[in-house]
């Protein structure tokens, strides 16, 4: 559905997106993860033909966005952070106006979508009277009108209260389940991505630093939490015996291939180092993400 290859965007001297290659197959909920300013919105802008790439290629539904934008975006819907509407007009008129930029849309279709998003009864009210949640629903309605196959959501949970975020999450899952939409979700909310997406890509300073399945993230580095009065002595011993491949955070060890927590416990106890606790620690997306975007350590001062 989405194919980015070697995508680069430079704003004067600042490189916003650097050599981004990405592929989102049909039917997937794909998460684009990154902190503010990582290049997510610029990448989405390039997917929608709003930002011109400096180099590289963007294909949506098999069509090049730069040269065949109309074809490429025919079956695409998008929602942005803090969706903007003509506040002085009614929700219905807003839907009519926005849908006509894609294709003529019947009143029945608008009614159907209004009902689907749960705005029935308020569609004739002016948008300025809508709550944040209702605006989010109206944004969803306008994306659904042209019967899209791909939905691009740029920080959809931004500005919503916890209840609104939960509702948005359920709606996204419903869209995927009931309408079979492919969804690209950009967010810096890790829990949101973790709960919704099947695959993710992580952007950091415009570069993709990871792309893979969420399950891969969790299995990427199985770490073991070790609670002992002298972590440094324990890890030195375990290293010496070749039982671990690494240690970090004063709390975690990575087991060397073929070794188990039982081997580690046995080695420590026999050496007289007390083991207060040892357990498999499943890495969260947050741990994984923070590891990825962690700045490299400063070079040691030689003086």
């Amino acid at each position: 559905m989405i194919q980015l290859s070697g995508l680069k965007k430079k704003f004067s001297s600042r490189l916003a997106v650097d050599d981004l290659t990405l592929s989102v197959p049909r039917g997937e909920i794909f998460g684009l993860l990154g902190h503010n300013g990582a290049g997510k919105s610029t990448a989405i802008g390039m997917m929608l033909g709003q930002v011109w790439p400096t180099s590289g290629e963007v294909k949506i539904c098999g069509h090049d966005v730069t040269s065949h934008r109309a074809q490429a975006l025919k079956k695409v819907g998008a929602i942005f952070e803090a969706p903007a509407f003509y506040d002085y007009l009614s929700g219905w008129t807003n839907l009519e106006i926005l849908s006509h930029y894609t294709a003529p849309t019947s009143r029945e279709r608008i009614r159907e979508v209004v009902e689907w998003v749960g705005l029935t009864g308020r569609e004739r009210s002016k948008v300025k009277t809508y709550s944040h949640g209702m605006r989010a629903r109206l944004a969803l309605a306008q994306t659904l009108l042209p019967q899209p196959e791909l939905l691009i959501l740029d920080e959809p949970g931004s500005g919503l209260d916890p209840e609104g975020i939960a509702e948005m999450r359920q709606t996204i899952l419903r869209l995927h389940r009931e309408l079979g939409l492919t969804i690209l979700l950009s967010s810096h909310l890790l829990t949101e991505v973790e709960q919704l997406c099947t695959r993710i890509a992580v952007l950091n300073q415009g570069r993709k630093v990871f792309e893979g399945q969420i399950t891969e993230v969790k299995a990427a580095r199985q770490r073991v939490a070790l609670q002992t009065p002298d972590f440094a002595a324990a890890t030195a011993l375990l290293r010496e015996r070749g039982l671990i491949s690494g240690a970090d955070g004063g709390r975690f060890i990575s087991l060397a291939n073929g070794n188990s927590t039982a081997d580690v416990t046995r080695a420590l106890v026999s050496a007289g180092i007390a083991v207060e606790g040892i357990w498999q620690h499943e890495q969260t997306l947050e741990d994984f993400y923070l590891d990825l975007v962690k700045p490299p350590p400063l070079p040691a001062n030689k003086n």
């Binding site: 975006l73 903007a84 002085y88 106006i97 006509h100």
Partner: protein, 281 residues
């Protein structure tokens, strides 16, 4: 589709309260001017001018005469202000509010979007001028009789002293508004061009007004007398030429062609800049 999109642009434009500021201002100013004409020495000055030239003042102090008198300050001061206000908003306000990003996530080409917006702007400018003319005439008719038309005025190159029977006067009045609409469309196109750049709506309006102001000032500088044709405000004066006898149609045609070319150029520059720019939040 184009018609549906144009209808939507008009919905957006005429749904905003600020679109009506110009109409409201015309009503207020015309009422004030009308009262001033009726109750100050302004009217007696006109009567003296007519009788000094051997005409009966009572035959020509009419609704049509007063309507034309009221036009001058409004088309020099108010019309540019309100037309550029709306023209400067057309694209820049949508970019500022974020609705432009919503529109451009849809499969409409940027040039087509701009064209539809420009057409909506043109309709607004024409409607504003029409309203200006009709309101002036209706208000003037409340206080003055329907009689012959007397037109007196001076542009930089021509002076006009015309007396017309009521029916002929009405036709000329309508013609004058046709050319005034072209002036308004040109002003709007200039503001629209600036609005297509990456700038705030107020900046687009101010730039367009400055452009018009600089044209007006330079046109009046004696040094540029031979280059008058290069200033668009010189061509704006041709609405008044319809009251000359004989009507200098060649000069009017020339000015209107130049204004048309200015509109087209402004649209081409605006759409080119809009096409190449990045639309970001």
């Amino acid at each position: 589709m184009l018609l549906a999109q144009l209808k939507n642009e008009l919905w957006k434009l005429f749904g905003k309260k600020r679109t009506y500021i110009g109409f409201g201002a015309f009503v207020v100013v015309q009422s004030v001017m009308l009262l001033m004409f009726k109750y100050t020495k302004w009217q007696s000055h006109f009567e003296r001018m007519l009788s000094g030239n051997g005409y009966l003042a009572t035959d020509y102090i009419s609704a049509l005469t007063v309507a034309v008198v009221m036009l001058w300050p409004q088309i020099i001061l108010l019309m540019p202000l309100y037309v550029t206000l709306v023209g400067g908003d057309l694209v820049a306000k949508e970019a500022e509010d974020g609705t432009l990003r919503m529109i451009l996530s849809r499969p409409i080409s940027r040039v087509r979007l701009l064209f539809v917006k420009w057409l909506a702007g043109i309709i607004f400018a024409a409607v504003l001028v029409l309203a200006l003319g009709v309101i002036a005439l209706i208000f003037a008719r409340i206080y003055f009789p329907w009689k012959g038309m007397f037109v007196f005025g001076q542009t930089q190159t021509d002076s006009t002293f015309g007396l017309f029977p009521a029916n002929e006067g009405l036709v000329l009045y309508a013609f004058a508004h046709l050319f005034m609409a072209m002036n308004a469309i040109t002003m709007l196109s200039v503001a629209f061009m600036f609005s297509s750049f990456n700038m705030k709506p107020a900046a687009a309006t101010i730039l367009a007004l400055s452009f018009l102001f600089v044209n007006m000032v330079m046109q009046r500088v004696p040094f540029f007398e031979d280059y008058r044709n290069w200033f668009i405000t010189h061509h704006f004066e041709c609405w008044f030429l319809v009251f000359q006898k004989p009507v200098p149609w060649a000069r009017i045609f020339e000015s209107e062609s130049i204004l048309l070319a200015v509109c087209a150029t402004a649209f081409v520059i605006g759409s080119t800049v809009f096409y190449v720019r990045d639309i970001k939040s």
